[in-house]
Amino acid sequence: MININYRDRRPIFEQVKDGFRNLIISGVLKEGERMPSVRDLASQLAINPNTIQRAYRELEIDGYICTVPGKGSFVSQRDEAAEKRRAELRAKMSEIARELRHAGIGEEELITLIRKEYDHD
């Protein structure tokens, strides 16, 4: 369910973290669902267990999962995590918009671009 891409410049722990974050946000991994054990994932992906531990630790700090000692990690309630992600994406959007403005893309054009995305659904 998580893919490690060797051409990706991101460190492996970040790839694992981002991968799970997307699965949680998109609802593939549901609230309360158990995360794969570090051991299983290490063996399945053939990567260092400490790397996975680190990714899990950061996911926990960011509120996506919670760890019950002796039982494993579980997906935590989504609202909070999703809200945090939305804020992150909004900030990213502003950054991109700013860059586009510098690149000489007009307001109208940008709005058209965004509208196109929304019309798809």
Binding site: I12, A42, S43, L45, A46, I47, N48, P49
Partner: protein, 297 residues
């Protein structure tokens, strides 16, 4: 924990290891890298208890390894050139090692047979190189060692088998805290599995760090400087090249700190890119005079 202190070894006057200090924490996967002839195999042979140190110490969990049966029965070593007795089959070799390793797990050996599909009735020496390596892994993993020493381990294994082998080893690390020391030139692969890296050069340790620290301590920047500006003073630059206005520099230091310093000269464009292990290897060794040269023959 694996440790050597001021380990020295000479062969016929050639100093293969000089005052080598190595520290591998328990449960770490330690990648040992270095140019050809740096002394990697010599070090591993000391750790396996094959060589007697000229001076210095070789300790596993605080105990000297040489002629120490108790310690050695917890170490599995897969050398680059694996030894099998003439005519011995996989089963014969298994029984041989079973006699030497008290923790040998027969169940596990049987189970691993499903992954390593090898002929058990033919002499191992008649099998292909890759198959011989598989047999070694199967036996070594069945010994349930606390320490696994691997010298160029996946040489000769096909991609599927590599993944299988690493998968099993990683699960052992997660579950039992097995310590793995692996020498390899396949830095791409080491990057996935290792959490510690030691770069050896001419018989001593050049750098020994956790992979995180190593990757956070060197950064590649692509930047365009405003006309007439120079880079700020005091940056430790390991490499610099340019294509037209775009400069590429390799700087020692944390990405955020370096970026901050560069920001002071307000560059036209600046982007930092993390380095992979192969690049770190090349740039760190470049400082010692061992470098990639543009050679046209």
């Amino acid at each position: 924990m694996i440790e050597t202190r001021k380990l020295c070894k000479s062969f016929d006057g050639f100093r293969a290891l000089s005052e080598l200090d190595v520290k591998v924490p328990k449960g770490a996967v330690y990648g040992l890298v270095g140019p050809n002839g740096a002394g990697k195999t010599t070090l591993i042979r000391h750790l396996a208890g094959i060589y007697i140190p000229d001076s210095g110490e070789v300790l596993i969990d605080g105990q000297p390894v040489y002629e120490n049966t108790e310690v050695k029965s917890r170490i599995a070593y897969i050398p680059d050139d694996i030894f099998y007795y003439t005519q011995a089959t996989v089963t014969d070799m298994k029984n041989f090692y079973k006699g030497l390793y008290p923790a040998f797990d027969e169940e596990r050996f049987k189970k691993l047979g499903e992954i390593f599909g090898m002929e058990e009735t033919r002499p191992v020496r008649k099998l292909s190189k890759g198959m011989q390596k598989q047999a070694a892994f199967r036996i070594a993993i069945s010994c349930r060692p606390d320490v696994i020493l691997l010298d160029e381990p996946v040489d000769g294994l096909d991609p599927v088998m590599r993944r299988n082998v690493w998968g099993i080893l990683m699960s052992d690390v997660a579950e039992n805290g097995t310590t793995v020391l692996v020498s390899s030139h396949n830095l791409r692969e080491l990057e996935d599995v290792c959490d510690h890296v030691g770069i050896m050069e001419k018989g001593s340790m050049l750098i020994e760090r956790s992979l995180d620290e190593l990757q956070n301590n060197i950064v590649k920047l692509q930047l365009v400087l405003p006309d007439g500006t120079e880079l700020p003073e005091g940056l430790e630059i390991l490499g610099r090249s340019s294509t037209g206005k775009l400069e590429q520099i390799i700087v020692r230091g944390k990405a955020e700190e370096v970026e901050e310093r560069i920001a002071q000269i307000s560059p036209v464009y600046c982007e930092s890119i993390p380095l992979n292990l192969e690049e770190i290897f090349i740039y760190e060794l470049g400082g010692t005079g061992y470098e990639v040269r543009n050679i046209i023959v």
